[in-house]
């Protein structure tokens, strides 16, 4: 066990865990930040996506020792009141079915748009291909990324 000072959503969280513990399980089991989801545990589905220093990152294979100095953002910290343009677009387009993967989808999309405010369809595809939606809401995910991009320009 070792003590880590994590910076998550602008707050400091001290946690005493094994250095190999993936960020995902620290968020979920130690910090009650359960918006980040477990899906596969091997970075294949994207349900656990968070931002590490602004980059979309799979937290299920990311040891806590690797992020102790990083700025981490989870779905809970993407905006204070759920008003990030990507969250608003997801609501307007009414993307979710079961909703389980959507936090990961939103974190991937918001990282893309922060770096590339005018993504082409190809850019969106390249960003979103790592996030599985078992319900098959891909068409609406596409539409919502477009709506979010428009909102962010305003």
């Amino acid at each position: 066990m070792a003590l880590f000072q994590l910076k998550i959503n602008g707050k400091n969280y001290p946690v005493d865990v094994d250095a190999n513990t993936p960020l995902l399980w620290v968020l979920r089991d130690h910090l009650d930040l359960v918006g980040t989801k477990y899906g596969c545990g091997m970075a294949m589905c994207g349900a656990c996506t968070v931002h590490v220093n602004g980059d979309a990152t799979r937290s299920c294979v990311l040891p806590i020792s690797a992020v102790s100095a990083a700025n981490i953002t989870t779905i809970e910290g993407l905006s204070e009141k759920g008003t990030h343009p990507v969250q608003e677009a997801w609501d307007e387009v009414d993307v979710p079915q079961c909703g389980y993967c959507q936090a990961g989808q939103i974190m991937t999309a918001s990282a893309l748009l922060s770096k590339n405010p005018n993504p082409s369809d190809k850019d969106i595809e390249e960003a979103m291909v790592g996030n599985i939606c078992r319900c098959g809401t891909y068409h609406r995910i596409h539409d919502a990324v477009k709506v979010a991009a428009t909102k962010m320009k305003k």
């Binding site: 066990m1 865990v17 094994d18 513990t21 993936p22 399980w25 979920r28 089991d29 130690h30 009650d32 930040l33 359960v34 918006g35 980040t36 989801k37 477990y38 899906g39 596969c40 545990g41 091997m42 294949m44 589905c45 349900a47 989870t74 779905i75 809970e76 993407l78 905006s79 759920g82 969250q87 997801w90 609501d91 307007e92 009414d94 979710p96 079915q97 079961c98 909703g99 389980y100 993967c101 959507q102 936090a103 939103i106 595809e125 979103m128 291909v129 996030n131 599985i132 939606c133 078992r134 319900c135 098959g136 809401t137 891909y138 068409h139 609406r140 995910i141 596409h142």
Partner: protein
């Protein structure tokens, strides 16, 4: 106020805890629906049904009983109540009810049946409350109720004066409930059929703890369970000496053929799990996929056959046929792969148990757990969490029962979480099935006989003997064989028809081709026959069938030349809804590419346009994905695909354009969680044939030079 308090009454009105109107309405059989005021004491209301509450502040709370799995029921049910109530949707609050077998009937998610089951009783619940509110306003104003109407949470008098529902709630709660209420004309619906966003969107999009896997209680332990790694193995012995010494581990126990590792966090449990030494021994045959091939052959050529339906004499027809067409189609086992793996919370307290988690069948879980623990069912309470998908997997209660058993052993609150590997290898799969078809045509190209033999591995009856084309063919024989494999199976979204529809619609295309007929025309002719001179029992409506076929053909420009584009057609009736699809393909770099799928859907009245389209698009994507890629194979009883690195699910870049159209016929609504999936594989396979000249008989397609997404 009526003083009649008969238990047969299906309606109650009572003062809410904070004052205001609470209408209890039944979800029981609507035939006996007799609304009546029975009292104003809250205690009276407890043993009745769901509640529609209106508070003096104006908030309308609608409790939604059915488990939400992503099908949109938590939004759809309240829409129906709110429509007849003329509530202001912006002020409606929706809450998930826990399992309550006294209040609710059919508190489950499965079979695309919830809307069909509850449509009328939900409407009556809303309409009755509206009538009471109007009557309360009329009395307050001293005017006839007939001069009043309701709109957006207000009662309005013809003079123009208005009063809000909240201000009427207390007075309305003291009025006798009308015996009969007038429901709206379906043509006057404004909320039903509109585009309504999911009521849980905000919580989903901000990461609130909605799902079972997010559930937490003070002092709760985490557990994972090691189940036999192959079907046919059982537990021989285990040694947890090392595992028990590891950080965060509380206990390691075995029950049934399983070993549970219990600890403080999931990660610690996962590490300790690797350190448990387990020996397994053979209990039943350890089947490999090659064995399944042999079993299918034995079943299809054997005599252990159940006749499901027989019309005329197929053998005689085959002898006299102009042409006979034969083919075999096969599908593999499939895991359901919901994104949220199985999990359940349980806290055994000696003579009672508290449960929480994602279940499509909470009542069945309650009963089984009560029986296992030898306690009364009412001592088993079950909180329903939102489900991260299910696709039929959560109809089976194994994971809830398992959590309950573990909690009863360790006597502590515990949540069992399945890893993805556990979820994929833990069983309850879509059964593997092989179908043998045989049909004959006469010189004029009429289908004179149709034979289907379904061979399944734990599939039960793998046919749907009364489905089309039954009724449209003079000579028909439908039969099934089944083999009891150690590999466990269960319903998978659109059970049986998820593959049967593909096989049947692809085979009918082969028959149409042999008859030299256009596939759409061929099906329409069969429906004509079923309508004009039906053979035996018919379970589908030919008119509705024909309408979706025509709509799909019209919207897709069926039969009109589109440069470089080939089309495949499919239509299927399941779960009381009709869906026709046309898939369009092109060739690119020598490979067929699926470009677009058109869907024409008759599910009766559409409740929520947004959610309905979401279901159709999702079902088509699901149908394409599993037809293309889904494959679970076995070696010595062990599933060979354990996670998404080896088991491929369809992704963002692999979906075609989709266009969905509804038949607008005003008929009472039917389900939509499943019916758009069955036709998809057939449309895809038929388009592949048109594009490449190659018939694909086995799923998944991607393993046999199939198309690219």
């Amino acid at each position: 106020m009526s003083t009649n308090q008969s238990r047969r009454d299906f309606f109650k009105t009572t003062a809410a805890a904070g004052g205001g109107l609470v209408l209890g309405f039944s979800w029981f059989s609507s035939e006996a629906f007799q609304p009546q005021v029975v009292g104003t004491a809250a205690a009276d209301a407890i043993d009745f049904n769901a509640y529609l509450a209106i508070s003096p502040s104006g908030t309308v709370t609608i409790f939604s009983p059915n488990p939400e799995i992503g099908q949109g029921i938590k939004t759809a049910f309240p829409i129906i109540v709110a429509e007849e109530l003329d509530a202001d949707w912006e002020k409606v609050k929706v809450e998930q009810s826990p399992l309550d077998t006294k209040k609710f009937e059919r508190q489950l998610t499965g079979g695309s049946g919830a809307i069909r089951h509850s449509w009328e009783r939900l409407r009556k619940a809303g309409a009755t409350a509206r009538a009471l509110l109007i009557e309360a306003a009329a009395q307050q104003w001293g005017v006839p109720a007939s001069e009043c109407s309701a709109q957006k949470g207000m009662v309005i008098h013809s003079s123009g004066k208005k009063i809000a529902y909240g201000d009427l709630a207390v007075a309305a709660s003291k009025l006798p409930v009308p015996k009969e209420v007038k429901l709206k004309a379906t043509s006057s619906f404004s909320l039903i059929g509109s585009r309504v966003k999911g009521v849980d969107n905000k919580d989903i999009l901000t990461g609130k703890n909605l799902f079972g896997i997010d559930y937490k209680r003070p002092g709760m332990l985490h557990a994972q369970v090691q189940r036999p790694p192959a079907f046919g193995l059982k537990l021989k012995s285990f040694d947890a000496t090392e595992a028990k010494k590891m950080p965060g581990i509380v206990n390691v126990v075995s029950f049934g053929n399983k070993v549970a590792i219990v600890g403080k966090t999931n990660w610690e449990v996962m590490q300790a799990r690797k350190a448990v030494k387990i020996e397994w021994e053979k209990e039943k045959d350890l089947e490999s996929s090659a064995d399944h091939d042999r079993l299918f052959k034995e079943m299809l050529n054997g005599t252990n056959v159940t006749v499901q339906r027989k019309d005329g004499d197929v053998e005689a027809a085959f002898k006299n046929a102009h042409k006979v067409i034969e083919a075999e189609y096969q599908c593999p086992f499939l895991p359901h792969s919901p994104m949220e793996p199985m999990n359940f919370f349980a806290h055994f307290k000696g003579d009672s148990i508290e449960l929480a988690g994602p279940s499509q069948t909470p009542e069945a879980a309650q009963k089984q757990i009560a029986k296992m623990l030898n306690i009364a069912p009412e001592k088993v309470t079950l909180e329903l969490t939102r489900m991260g998908g299910g696709f039929g997997r959560r109809l089976n209660t194994d994971y809830a029962v398992e959590a309950a058993e573990l909690s009863s052993i360790i006597k502590a609150p515990v949540k069992v979480t399945w890893t993805r590997e556990d979820d994929m290898t833990g069983g309850i799969y879509r059964p593997a099935v092989r179908y043998r078809f045989k049909a004959s045509i006469d010189k004029a190209g009429n289908m004179t006989a149709f034979m289907l033999h379904g061979a399944g591995l734990n599939a039960g009856n793998s046919t749907r003997q009364d489905n089309f084309p039954a009724g449209a063919v003079e000579n028909l024989l439908i039969q099934s064989s089944d083999y009891k494999s150690p590999i466990t199976t269960g319903p998978w979204r659109a059970p049986i028809t998820n593959f049967l529809a593909y096989a049947e619609q692809a085979f009918l295309d082969e028959v149409a081709a042999a008859a030299g007929k256009d596939p759409v025309q061929f099906r329409l002719e069969l429906l004509d026959k079923a309508e004009k001179s039906p053979v035996g029992k018919i379970t589908y409506e030919t008119k509705r069938f024909r309408e979706v076929i025509k709509l799909a053909a019209e919207k897709s420009g069926w039969g009109k030349k589109k440069k470089g584009v080939s089309q495949g057609f499919s239509v299927y009736f399941s779960h009381a809804s009709y869906v026709a699809q046309v898939a369009e393909m092109t060739m690119a770099k020598g490979k067929p590419v699926l470009k677009k799928v058109y869907a024409a859907v008759d599910c009766g009245i559409v409740i929520n346009e947004s959610s309905a389209k979401n279901q159709i698009y999702g079902a088509i994507v699901d149908g394409i994905g599993h037809a293309m890629y889904g494959n679970l194979t076995f070696k010595d009883g062990a599933p060979q695909q354990e996670n998404f690195n080896k088991y491929r699910l369809i992704r963002y870049n692999e979906v075609p354009d989709i266009e969905a159209h509804f038949v607008n016929n005003g008929i009472e609504p039917t389900g939509l969680g499943e019916p758009a999936l069955p036709p998809t594989g057939g449309a895809l396979a038929n388009a592949i044939f048109k594009t490449t000249g190659k018939r694909l008989y086995n799923q998944p397609f991607a393993d046999q030079d199939g198309p690219l997404g």
